[in-house]
Point group: C2
Chain length 396, copies 2
């Protein structure tokens, strides 16, 4: 049987990272390629307590069908939390619960983009989001990243040249994969350009709560008096990614359409896990929990950057990070980056080649991505030493 | 701000049933309009036991990111179970876990249909699936239902007239909303026509396990030697709908594309709940559990049909059911069905007008749908008596 596959889907490829995971699944391989929270970060005891109570005292609430827009108590609690802590949300906004922040990407593209429309994104950017956008047959227009966020002149150029641009996709804090945080000045500039050109902003903020040094920069959404910003949040990095609970805060007319699309995608997000997230915020000291995570990641990132300074310098350079899960490493010009990554796999260390994160994978790229949160300290030490030795060999 | 909404989504409306739920939310209203499993049907104690063990002994498995195609142990167990019990699955097939069976509808339409393509469906059919298909800008072509399933001549006519038909959507067991089960003869005829015209079949079987009388009819997928059938199953009616765990069994090339689409939609289905489903099948007597559900629904359906015979006859007619959750009721010709449903809401009883389930809501329809599984016995008695009194008044 010859299957007719839709034009949107025909050319979709599984994420390159997934292909790399096949190597990473070999227990002898040290994987620095994942994006998983540290196993020590999960509040497993608290989740077990909440869940036991819930199933003992109100099991039907946790197990019966629920409403598409999400568990009302969680929506209210999150809306209040985001308003109070981040000045996110205005009268014109609403909040919905989604199956991870990934679903926000899918619902936003489905709601806002026709085939042939354009999404403007950071280059490099998170491949999971880029692939989700691609699945709606949109064209991606990349804007180069600088050390303080998007190149604003290039962004304006893109907005001028792309009348079918529907939204600007940005991860302003500890961007995946570059680790870059956008400056306040650039956040204002992006917002002003979006307003000038009548284009929305999709602000994806999975790592914002994991700032372990430096000063927090306000969300772009906190500037939003005009209904221009759709904000995507998630519990994946602060409670658990396996339970797939995220949320979107944005203009009501857009969210209303996203709700209708969500109904057709999965009816509603796992309600048991939604209640667990709500009770976790209600019963425990949420800010103390975030502080505990920050301490964990601060120590692990410092340990990793010490190793990198010792083993990777001077051949491989990187920008120090103040939060998030990723380090973006650069090989000297002239070194064949894809060949370097392939050889590192043969030496049992897995990293992600940087071109995977570009709008066009064939563009030149000298960088690769390291994740420090998933491996053990021992794996980090061995893995980074192997990468350093390889770099010294190829640069000799 | 004027928002650009995509052509696919612009004309989507929330399900009419959801609008009715607004009335049904009034505690004074008796809702016969839901589609929820009976609250007594949930194995809450077993779920609590499994979950406590899981979070105590291997919390990281339940809380960390997982793979898009689903928890391997559950995939293997379900594949074996479906093969052994239903002869479903061949060498050419694979199985993936989805966020409820609803996600199978969304992934199938996304993978198989371009805008303007056609999905052939039963008329009436499940509105949640129809709306999911509509959200991909496909055209729905309805085939009238008879007491033993689709009108086969009308199906062939549709296949002849619709060269862009991509799949035939059917709920062969205890169809929602009609309660009809397709005969074995018609299942073979549908399969043969699909083969003749080179069109796939999407077989949606949420209620098959809830047969409480009569003889089971084999799945269409059990006939599938040609890779023509995509089968959608779910734990929603047999374990819990709130945890959103479903699955698809179908030809590998189609499932591979669906996996890529799923990655962009929600990365993977809640892994905690996937493991709970797997352990439930492994640790407990699954068939004894299904028998307990059948007994529960057998008694409740019999109780309901007794009430209907007493209060609704002769004005309102219906077909007796052998399984599933719904009863399809017909008003005499000449009675204004929508007006009847509106008046019943004013009298505090909520049913679903039958035209909600048609491919064109404006088509004439004399039927409405009753659900018997969600209300209490007392609510059923009061609600059906009110409907009967109303029918007698309007038919006077």
């Amino acid at each position: 049987m010859e299957y007719h596959i839709s034009a949107c889907v025909q050319n979709l490829k599984p994420s390159a990272i997934r292909e790399i995971f096949k190597y990473a699944a070999d227990p002898a391989v040290i994987s620095l390629s994942a994006g998983n929270p540290a196993p020590e970060a999960f509040p497993a005891k608290e989740i077990a307590e909440i869940s036991a109570d819930l199933l003992a005292n109100r099991p039907i609430d946790a197990l019966q069908y629920s409403v598409t827009e999400g568990y009302p108590a969680l929506r209210n609690r999150l809306a209040a939390y985001m308003k109070e802590n981040h000045n996110v949300g205005r009268e014109q906004d609403d909040i919905i619960i989604t199956s991870g922040a990934q679903q926000v990407m899918s619902l936003a593209a489905k709601t806002l983009c026709d085939p042939g429309d354009v999404v403007i994104c950071e280059a490099p950017s998170f491949i999971g989001s880029l692939n989700s956008f691609r699945s709606f047959n949109v064209r991606l227009r990349g804007v180069p990243m600088e050390n303080d966020g998007m190149d604003i002149a290039a962004l304006e150029q893109a907005l001028k040249e792309e009348p079918r641009a529907r939204f600007i996709y940005t991860i302003p804090n500890f961007q995946n994969p570059s680790g870059v945080t956008m400056s306040m000045e650039k956040r204002r500039a992006v917002y002003d350009l979006a307003k000038k050109y009548g284009v929305l902003i999709l602000e994806d903020n999975p790592y914002g709560d994991i700032r372990f040094s430096g000063e927090p920069v306000p969300c772009i959404k906190s500037l939003d008096e005009d209904g221009l910003v759709l904000y995507a949040g998630t519990f994946s990095k602060v409670i658990s990614p396996g339970i797939r609970v995220g949320y979107a805060i944005g203009p009501k007319p857009v969210l209303q359409k996203m709700i209708v699309c969500k109904q057709g995608q999965d009816v509603h997000t796992n309600i048991w896990s939604q209640i667990v997230c709500d009770e976790f915020m209600a019963r425990y000291d949420y800010n103390a929990h975030l502080e505990r995570l920050r301490k964990l990641y601060r120590e692990k990132a410092a340990y990793t950057m010490d190793l990198m300074d010792r083993y990777l310098a001077p051949e491989i350079t990187y920008n120090r990070i103040e939060g998030g899960l990723f380090l973006w490493c650069r090989l000297p010009d002239g070194v064949d980056m894809p060949a370097f990554c392939k050889e590192s796999v043969l030496r049992k260390v897995c990293v992600v080649p940087g071109n995977s994160f570009l709008t066009d994978e064939n563009d030149p790229c000298q960088s690769f991505r390291i994740n420090y949160s998933t491996p053990t300290n021992d794996q980090l030490a061995r893995g980074i030493e192997i990468l350093g030795n390889l770099a010294k060999e190829v640069c000799r």
